[in-house]
């Protein structure tokens, strides 16, 4: 088939202290293919790709690129060899323009920036060619996440690459943006480029890849052609057991109203109206979903409910008590759990240890503290228990949470919030960045919480997530709830129409 592999990774090892991130990993990438990389959280995908693009140096092993053994000292070396990577976390300086970001680090340090017009011209030309819609003079921080992603991709193209590595590019994209990205990958391959694509979403992977490699525990366990496999088999390879894609759900009449929102109105941080008179009830023993394209007020709704954003009008009633305008600590103390959209901003404190992060809201209370002193033993036991139950991949409970892979950080947040014995659980993007094995587990856990009588509000842009566990789905558009549907896959079209803002469809009775 292939004459000689375009890129060959040979028996690479990499440790971080006691953690083995790459345990003799070998992989071959062919020229002009889209090669997807799957694997559980912490399997070593990001670390492997960072070694290919010169960010991290391998301890042992060989990288053979275009027939030559290479050893990159920095990402710049890799870019010179026409290898570029779009990282899980963006590498764009927010207060610079797109063009300035592109020339960062180029040329000699002492050179004067003179020829910006030709840089702009080059950016416009590339942007047109791949329909990326990137303006060279836009300031990066003014752009949406999806736009920033396109800016990142164009940056790599601007530097001129043959091999493009995309690390979980779709985790933060809306379905429309994802479609656009996937077709862009096809265009790039047509232009003779090679793409490595990391994702946890099997449907995307099945759609675009030529070949798929599965990683487990720092090794590639299997490489298959896309035609020779299916989602179920891939899931089994990743997790090492069968993953249920459909979760059994017991029909159960919901109980009393736990959370009631009446006419809630609030503005975004920018001062623009974001939530416009939202009313909804969540009962004990039910999971209510909120679907919608991101940016339709979901972020502000969840921040306002949890006390992180001021409420302009309306009320939030929890267990019969008005909690509107209380501060987050008071709301937290009323058996209100929150799994936030942006875990780095609202969920965890990166430099603190796993233990410290698990008691963030309760560090001053029994059993974690007595008489103002922390009970290290109790805290440690509690954290170890959560780590075990939620299979958080970590060295021990005293490690800073920053050292965990993104998916494992998310698992710890979920574990902490469920362990607080809440009456109401607010979730915004349950499965952001977590692998399918963990997703199955977390979703089962949500259903268990529901069956034990808790009320759950699940905000998500992932329809799969909503269909899998919700009892009913509300659709949010432009800050309003447009309608309600049962979680019935046959009515996907209706849902799509509502998400696009089409209110006067007849079948709203749902």
């Amino acid at each position: 088939m292939s004459v000689k592999p375009f890129l060959r990774i040979d028996n690479i090892r990499k440790r971080f202290g006691p953690i083995v991130a790459s345990d003799g990993v070998s992989l071959e990438i062919e020229e002009g293919e889209i090669h997807s990389l799957l694997g559980e959280n912490g399997a070593g995908k990001s670390v492997l790709m960072s070694m290919i693009c010169g960010m991290v140096r391998p301890d042992e092993g060989d990288i053979v690129y275009k027939g030559q053994s290479v050893r990159f000292a920095s990402p710049r070396d890799a870019i010179r060899q026409r290898i570029g990577m779009v990282h899980q976390h963006f590498m764009l300086v927010p207060n610079l323009t797109v063009a300035e970001n592109y020339i960062l680090g180029q040329g000699s340090a002492l050179s004067v920036i003179s020829d910006m017009t030709s840089v702009h011209r080059k950016i416009r030309a590339l942007s047109e060619r791949y329909a990326l819609d990137v303006r060279p003079d836009a300031i990066v921080e003014d752009l949406s996440v999806g736009e920033q992603q396109r800016v990142e991709i164009l940056k790599v193209l601007f530097h001129g690459i043959d091999l493009l590595i995309l690390d979980e590019p779709t985790a933060v994209l809306t379905p429309q943006e994802t479609d656009r990205l996937l077709s862009l990958m096809g265009d790039l391959v047509k232009d003779g480029k090679t793409v490595v694509f990391i994702s946890h979403k099997l449907d995307e992977v099945m759609r675009v890849s030529n070949r798929i490699s599965v990683m487990r525990d720092g090794r590639v366990v299997n490489t298959v052609r896309v035609g020779e496999t299916n989602a179920r088999e891939l899931a089994r390879m990743m997790v090492g057991r069968d993953v249920r894609m459909e979760l059994p759900r017991s029909p159960k009449p919901p109980g009393r109203i736990v959370l009631s929102v009446e006419n809630l109105t609030c503005r975004a941080e920018t001062g623009l109206p974001a939530v416009r008179g939202v009313s909804l009830d969540v009962r004990a023993g039910e999971i209510v979903g909120i679907a919608g394209v991101s940016g339709n007020g979901q972020t502000e709704l969840s921040l306002a409910l949890s006390g992180l954003l001021p409420v302009d009008a309306g009320r939030v009633i929890l267990n019969g008590n008005d909690i509107t305008g209380l501060d987050p600590a008071e709301i937290n103390a009323r058996r209100f759990s929150h799994i936030p959209e942006d875990r780095h901003k609202h969920g965890i404190v990166l430099p603190l240890s796993l233990s410290e992060n698990t008691i963030l809201q309760r560090y001053d209370r029994k059993p974690f503290a007595t008489g103002g002193m922390l009970n290290r033993r109790v805290i440690g036991e509690h954290t170890r228990d959560l780590i075990k139950r939620f299979r958080v991949k970590s060295r021990d409970e005293n490690q800073p949470i920053a050292a965990l892979s993104g998916g494992n950080q998310q698992k710890l947040v979920v574990a902490r919030e469920l362990a607080r014995d809440p009456d109401f659980i607010l979730v915004n993007q349950l499965a952001r960045g977590i692998d399918i094995g963990a997703m199955e587990f977390v979703m089962e856990e949500m259903l268990r919480q529901r069956d034990s009588g808790r009320a759950i509000l699940l905000i998500s842009t992932e329809l799969e997530e909503l269909f899998a566990i919700c009892d009913r789905i509300l659709v949010m558009f432009h800050g309003e709830i447009l309608g309600e549907l049962p979680p019935d896959r046959t009515r996907l079209d209706e849902l799509g129409l509502l998400m696009a803002g089409n209110k006067d469809e007849p079948a709203l009775a749902g």
Binding site: S50, M55, V56, S74, P75, R76, D77, I79, H87, M91, L92, V93, P94, N95, L96, E100, N101, I103, L104, G105, Q106, G107, S108, A109, L110, S111, V112, I113
Partner: protein
């Protein structure tokens, strides 16, 4: 007061303001570089003192003012190297190291001065105003703008040059990025540590120059604590100026105006305000600006944070 007198007063005031602003201009523009790269150097006061002392010592030994200025810059940079080593390489807390360097600067210069110079009581020649034909003789304008020494004039050049470097060169672009998103710079192949060292050295070199101006262009003597808080005021200037070099130039002039006003009002017999109140004017304005401009964005987002490489 009739118009002529008040115009003369104004001209003198502006001339004095620029002179008094000069050390602040150097130090604050230097600090703009440092802070844009994410390094908050509160050790400016100590650094300026070292610059003032080195400048004085070198000029006293050689009688050569340019050499004295160079010694001031070198002294500041040497101090900056210590600061950079502890905060950038060792990743010690920038505030703690800065505070320690302030104390060290005060103690060290006082000690050396008492040991070697205080008994001699010797002054030095200072830089003299240059007479620019025609311009210096203009009525009022001449007094306000064209009777300064070369060091004072050079502040304009430094401000323009600083802005050009920061906004029009690859070095400046990278420096600004280092304070916002150091990892992006790392990925682009430039050394974050190298740029932070460079920024701190530019900053402390200019602070040293500002200090040296005090002994070589203003008073002809070194006095213990001669900077009298100018290093701290420069920190406030940077905030007020929104981390812009040209802004720092004009904000420093404003503070120079407060200094000059306080001096000239003290000399005015008709003013009944106690002189201590007037003396406190620049410091009061510092607090007012810091409170008024607190937390309004614009600060480099990684200011004060060491960079952890992966």
């Amino acid at each position: 007061m009739d118009d002529m007198i008040s115009l003369t007063f104004l001209a003198t005031l502006v001339g004095a303001a620029w002179r008094l602003a000069t050390p602040l201009i150097f130090a604050s523009i230097g600090e703009v570089f440092s802070e844009r790269a994410g390094v908050l150097n509160i050790g400016l006061e100590g650094t300026m003192l070292v610059g003032a002392f080195c400048g004085f010592a070198a000029a006293a030994a050689t009688g050569n003012i340019p050499l004295g200025l160079l010694a001031g810059i070198a002294g500041g940079m040497l101090f900056g190297l210590v600061f950079a080593f502890f905060t950038i390489s060792i990743k010690a807390d920038q505030i703690v190291v800065g505070a320690a360097l302030n104390l060290l600067g005060m103690g060290l210069t006082a000690f050396l001065f008492r040991t070697y110079y205080v008994s001699t009581g010797k002054g030095i020649e200072i830089a003299q105003p240059v007479h620019i034909p025609w311009l210096s003789d203009l009525p009022f304008l001449g007094e306000a703008f064209f009777r300064q020494n070369l060091i004072v004039y050079s502040t304009v050049l430094v401000a323009i040059l600083a802005a050009l470097v920061l906004y029009r060169t690859s070095f400046g672009l990278t420096l600004r990025s280092v304070g916002e998103h150091p990892k992006a710079v790392d990925v682009s192949g430039r050394s974050v540590v190298g740029y932070r060292y460079a920024a701190v050295l530019v900053g402390t070199g200019l602070a040293g120059l500002g200090g040296a101006f005090l002994t070589l262009g203003h008073s002809n003597q070194f006095v213990e604590g001669i900077t009298s808080g100018r290093g701290f005021i420069a920190l406030a200037v940077v905030v007020f100026a929104r981390w812009s070099p040209i802004g720092a130039f004009f904000v420093s002039l404003l503070f120079g105006l407060f200094y000059a006003l306080q001096l000239m009002l003290q000399a005015q017999a008709s003013i009944v305000v106690p002189y201590q109140v007037l003396q406190a004017l620049p410091y009061i304005m510092t607090i007012v600006t810091l409170v008024a401009f607190r937390g309004k964005g614009a600060a480099p987002s990684k200011l004060g944070q060491p960079y952890e490489m992966r």
